[in-house]
């Protein structure tokens, strides 16, 4: 059993109104040093696979098909554990 953390983030150049709102709020709180905030998602997936390479292949396929939308999102996969 493998455990993966999948980070789905908005592509560079895609406006993140949510991130902007949070940045403005941080400025209101006095954190002027913050120059940008981008909000993404962490999706945790547990899956059975023969080895890490197969786990990664399976994960990339399912991310491409469902978990991330390539028009607006990028992703990173991190396999964080074997149970």
């Amino acid at each position: 059993m493998y455990k993966a953390n999948i980070y789905v983030t908005l592509k560079k150049g895609v406006l993140d109104p949510q991130g902007n709102a949070v940045k403005n709020s941080l400025h209101v709180l006095g954190y002027q040093a913050v120059s940008e905030v981008r909000i993404g998602k962490l999706i945790e997936v547990w899956l059975e696979a023969d080895d890490e390479q197969n786990a990664r292949r399976e994960l990339e396929e399912l991310i491409d098909r469902l978990l991330a939308n390539p028009v607006i999102e990028d992703y990173q996969v991190e396999i964080v554990g074997v149970e």
Partner: protein, 233 residues
């Protein structure tokens, strides 16, 4: 003419669409439950608005893999008329029947309002009862109607005349101040290359009877009937 209204868990404009087809247009209509895996005997499909699957993951992302969707995609690929409204538009984007994706509204607010739309073309199955550059008023109700596509796709949409509706003011002027959600190029509705699949954020089904305050939505349904009759089907 026979319509099908596809119903997903969380659809909430299905009954409005059904009502317009049956009562206002006086044509046949069925609800099509998303678990159904085949479609026969329909001349047009409506993918209604709502919050299919609670908008989990991304709007339309889960509905796009419902058992009914391969049949919807086949129907569209064979030239069948498909109208996706609001969440229906989002589902068509996720399904790849239309290009692009939806982002949260620029304001981050759910917007429930009436907007002016400019009709860009009237030589389509969905707009033949309207005039080019005519301004129509339809309701919107969405949190994620901020249409996004890359430059290349936008150029193709423009070159191929696939933008049917844009947000504008009452005189038909487009501008960022008349764009409710931040959509690229003020886009409110686009068609596929073949012109048989329309996705639009505004709700024509909520504006097809005088008692509801406007008939502008009716023109879109009337266009579908007209194109069907012209095709002699």
């Amino acid at each position: 003419m026979k319509f099908g209204v596809v119903v997903f868990p969380g659809s909430n404009c299905d009954a409005d669409c059904y009502h317009v087809v049956q009562t206002v247009l006086g044509h046949e209509v069925d609800y099509i439950w998303h678990q159904q895996a085949s479609l026969t005997g329909y001349d047009a499909l409506i993918i209604p608005g709502g919050f299919s699957y609670g908008d989990y993951l991304r709007t339309g992302a889960i509905a796009r893999f419902s058992p009914i969707m391969p049949a919807v995609i086949d129907f569209a690929n064979q030239g069948g008329l498909v109208l996706g409204i609001c969440n229906g538009f989002q589902i068509l984007l996720e399904a790849g029947l239309l290009p692009g994706a939806m982002l949260k509204n620029r304001s981050l607010k759910f917007i429930c309002d009436k907007v002016n739309l400019k009709v860009k073309r009237n030589d389509t199955a969905f707009t033949n009862q309207l005039r080019v550059n005519e301004v129509i008023t339809l309701p919107i109700a969405h949190g994620e109607g901020n249409y996004f596509c890359d430059e290349e796709t936008l150029t193709a949409l423009r070159d191929e005349n696939r933008i049917l509706f844009t947000y504008c003011n009452a005189s038909g002027n487009e501008g960022v101040e008349y764009n409710p959600n931040g959509s690229v190029a003020n886009i409110a509705g686009i068609v596929n290359r073949q012109g048989n699949v329309l996705g639009m954020m505004p709700h024509p089904e909520r504006c097809s009877e005088k008692i509801l305050g406007g008939m502008d939505g009716y023109s879109i349904f009337a266009s579908i009937l007209q194109s069907f009759q012209e095709a002699g089907r």
